[in-house]
Symmetry: D2
């Protein structure tokens, strides 16, 4: 498939991000096929056409079923509200398309399992949009761990916080409902940190979770009585990894001042690695080596020594941005499709993340084995 | 008591810290009684004499029982190994002395309870050396919370980490034993963070704890077989405060690169406060006020606007140090004694901290109510 | 001109950056014309064709003169070595093209003046690639200053440092020659900071400069005798702005550990603004307002409140990258062309920067009025 | 002199600092003589007595001439307003006392020269209170440079800023006069940075200075007409060190948000060292060694590996404070007196600093050789 056709459903936050990524991926990475921006789906019709024009797609439609069965479409990108992921992904897979789906995978574990099953049956490639694991800084952390740079791993901490639901006076939205949004902070942001945790530490074998809704009701947008918030504002857990290590995890969507805070620490017997997404071009490394008077955390600025940074710019410290991570993700997906190998994280990999967040949500302070 | 006589037991890390504090407290704070550095206890005899000379104590002894009953001694400072705290403190109280005891209060809950009982019976003042809560930055955090600067409190995180037991090849010491050290990281450092947490959030009503010994044996210092480590290297917990809020807590003595890392975050409905002891002269405050384009975490450098900083130097941003915190603590104790009011944290207050750390140690992943 | 044709000369570091920018600009900004990637020039021929394929250009050529006179080309982007800028830009202007030229504008003041003259004669739009001034954080700094957020301006400091010439053993290259590179750190990086300084403080009226070549010779790449370094490794200056304020400026290409450090401080009578390009999504603001106990530098994370950040992603704190700045620059140039107004910084504006850096280079410690 | 008698003139900001330092120095450093706090001078009489009581001095006086000639006084500490330094120091030296004088040494170069001459004639020890050079972090920077850790030195930058004169509405004080204060920011803070610069880089051979009074008048404290500010609010200079390196220097007393900002960078051919007094327990070191993917600035937290930190506390990262630096200074002075060797910086050393700041003040943009 020398020029795979892209069908994109959704033109919002992540829809634009996908459009930019598939638009730039071939210019950034000379070694991937050139995607054709074939078909864009949104509603109403004039919006679909306008956004197709803006994003550089050849055609527009308001019918996602037409998109997933369009013969010129090879890859379906799903960036719609979470409750639509399962139906769209399964239909696309059944139509023989590869599927690039935004996180969280689905609203419920049942949906996620059905998607995984459909992927298996289809023989097509799937990928879930855990874009933060594409960061060269994160990839370098993985490489360092693999090389033993911090010794045997003994502990993990990961926190992911934003403040978009911090204001108690913010009106009620669909985000507050189980039916539309599923889990709260856990599903929206927590899953990102778990993708990072598993990539660094390996699978999670048990969780003890505790979730809280700190703003129990919110003003109705139509006026009248306040409406209930049905899902978690804050979720925390003590994890145990398959390797036996303890992990600590917390996520909040009500953490004032945090805009995209995703902090992790990996503790090892020879050193520590620390990262914060709000300074996404830095990796912090402590190693117990050299004279003790000169030891300290090193702030490593990413550069060409941290692939694939150099594909964006040859100059170190010049900084990648959020949208660049999706471009790397698109390249990985195109490569997996070209090679006929499973992409990471596939639906199967993402299902494991869903199992963790749903276990945390259900735990109520008891240990749940996975 | 215009010039209370100080009897200090121990001349090590915290012994020196107490000596410096009581030596400086009157010069720093014009409004406290001038302590007399009366009697110093250590062994052997020549060491006791030498340290008395260095620290400016009038007399020296090798007999702590003589010290606690010495008529010229009004305040007994206990900075000996933890297993000796209970016996010494109780004897001092029974001899009618006020007691300034280093943390952790005792090895076991039984000891801590006996100490609290003895304090109550004696009618004397007690204080446990939770020096970090004396930091003007911490006190300012308390003041801000009290004034509602960050609204209703909704979440807490606190982490305290050092690396003094991070090296797997470090020889076995008494620190590894329950009999000599009691709890591990929990008792040595975790209790500090809990003193800070309770001071900010109020009492803790339940914990779910999980502790780990990551270096299960250590080389025997005498050679031969490796010896077992009996207490926690890492301890984590999900807390619930009496006010209903969730808290997250973790402590490690095996966290490479952390020297005195004591990080807390208090999340409120109107803002967040963040602090790190490794930058102890800074407080980080986010408030949801003013134009959103100008919002951000403010790095507040402590100064005379944050009492009692100004007693040390009138110039802001000039920095207090670790030993200065003990001087503030000494002033607080002297004032409580002069006023005949209970000091904070008294043995009774510190017992509540002991109850939390022992509950975390015993929890094994189950919720324990306090 | 609904779909202006882009002719790009050069496919290296900045050539790729231009290709990505003009490829993405319409998807990012719905309100600009959609550029046609028309013609790409590089040598040899197969490289030109390959890069045209990768970057999405319709045609390729090895002849830049053909490119600048191609009727399908409306905008010529010049990203070649600095010594070629003048000839190419003037030819393009004479052929009636708009010119988007990388910095520094030219090797010599004479060249820069000739380019400015050609631009004036042509009536076409010109822009020099001072991309860092496109940063929403920088634009917010300008807005704050304009609104009086930090009062009357009293002082400026600006430093720009990298380490690509820090290693004394690095072989000699064309960068070391006046004939090929012109000025050293001043021409390569210093000019960026001066574009920022002038944008914040206004024109510069005099300089006292002092330049140093700290690695006076370098190993010849062909072996044999070491070869001389003819231009500045480090350049510093005391500036006076037209408004009377003092400024301090320094740049080094031999500053170990600095990868893209561009730090500025603007001191005002009511506050201070600080910025560092190595953390390009943050702006630091101190204002003398509110209770003194809560004053401090605020770390503002850029977001949709800082246009045009929101065109890239609606979520604050998610981070723009280096290449995104060029996309903003391309949008500005397309808008200026569409509107028929002068772009900023045009050749005329950039000439003022050239005059400053050449005055610094020539000063030898004496004040030079501009 | 087993117990040198201390005579302290002044009980303000630095007077208290000296009292605390000489009160603690023997307890902190076991290997120095125990100072006797003998005589304290201030006015009026009741204040002198009260402060003697608070600071632990045996006697009080209102007559500094009595103090400098008191037979029980061996060391005279001068912490009075700068205009009194010369007369007091010379009288003390003539009375055969050692003199520990606060910075800046004097108001004028003539005074500083007379003091140096008096010191030479007396054969007594002198020291000027450049306390920041006592910081273990600074001392470690010196050690690293001496060991070649950053190679040959090629460049220096040093900035020292506060905001105590930033508010334009602040009333006029004696600080604004040449007769009472001498130089402005240069004399009050700039000299500190020059003490640090010379200690790291060696002597300064020429300066090009530029000074500014940005608040030219201030409200009269008695009301009525505004009064003129006669000295520098901001002073900047390009330095040349005797070793040939360029240095950049700036100081402001009107820099909003800066409380005790003293930042220096030493650039070498193999690395860079960076320090900021507002985070005085950290030293930042970049070395060009090891894999490039792991290079970065290391944040070294001071600890026992950085003498004499360990004399204060055996635990790394526990932080020294501002007053601790004066204690180290007192120990150095006591040791020099005991050993009969010259202390650093003596009056002679400090005279060199005065020559630099007065040259900067006089330069008006011309190079002045020293």
């Amino acid at each position: 498939m020398s020029a795979p056709g892209i069908g994109l459903i959704g033109t919002g936050f992540m829809g634009k991000c996908h459009a930019l990524a598939y638009g730039a991926v071939r210019a950034v990475f000379g070694d991937v096929p050139t995607p054709r921006l074939e078909l864009l789906c949104d509603t109403p019709s004039d919006k679909a056409s306008a956004m197709a024009g803006q994003f550089g797609f050849a055609r527009a439609t308001v019918d996602w079923r037409a998109l997933v069965s369009d013969p010129a479409v090879d890859i379906v990108c799903i960036t719609t509200p979470n409750k639509l992921h399962a139906e769209m992904a399964i239909a696309a897979l059944e139509a023989g398309k590869h599927v690039h789906c935004e996180k969280p995978m689905a609203l419920t574990l049942d949906e996620a399992r059905a998607m995984t099953e459909a992927a298996k049956k289809s023989g097509r490639r799937t990928m879930v949009g855990y874009n933060y694991i594409r960061n060269p800084a994160y990839q370098h952390a993985r490489r360092l761990i693999g090389e033993g740079a911090i010794g045997r791993l003994i502990h993990f901490r990961g926190f992911v916080d934003e403040d978009y639901q911090a204001d108690p006076d913010l009106p009620w939205t669909w985000r507050a409902t189980k039916a539309e949004a599923g889990l709260g902070a856990l599903g929206d942001m927590g899953c990102h940190m778990l993708s990072m945790a598993i990539g660094l530490m390996g699978p999670i074998s048990s969780v003890i979770g505790d979730i809280r809704t700190v703003h129990e009701t919110r003003p109705s947008p139509e006026g009248g009585e306040r409406r209930p918030v049905e899902n978690d504002d804050i979720a925390s857990a003590i994890l145990t990894f398959a390797g036996g290590q303890q992990g600590l995890f917390s996520t909040s969507r009500s953490a004032w001042g945090r805009k995209n805070s995703m902090i992790f620490e990996v503790h090892g017997t020879k050193g520590m690695i620390r990262f914060d997404q709000e300074r996404m071009n830095e990796l912090h490394l402590f190693q117990n080596s050299g004279p003790s008077a000169e030891q300290g955390f090193r702030t490593i600025l990413t550069g060409p020594a941290h692939p694939p940074y150099g594909n964006f710019t040859p100059a170190p410290g010049h900084q990648l941005g959020f949208n660049d991570l999706k471009t790397i993700e698109a390249a990985e997906f195109l490569r997996a499709i070209a090679a006929g190998t499973e992409a990471w994280p596939s639906f199967r990999d993402a299902l494991a993340i869903e199992e963790v967040i749903h276990a945390i949500a259900a735990s109520q302070g008891r240990r749940i084995d996975l």
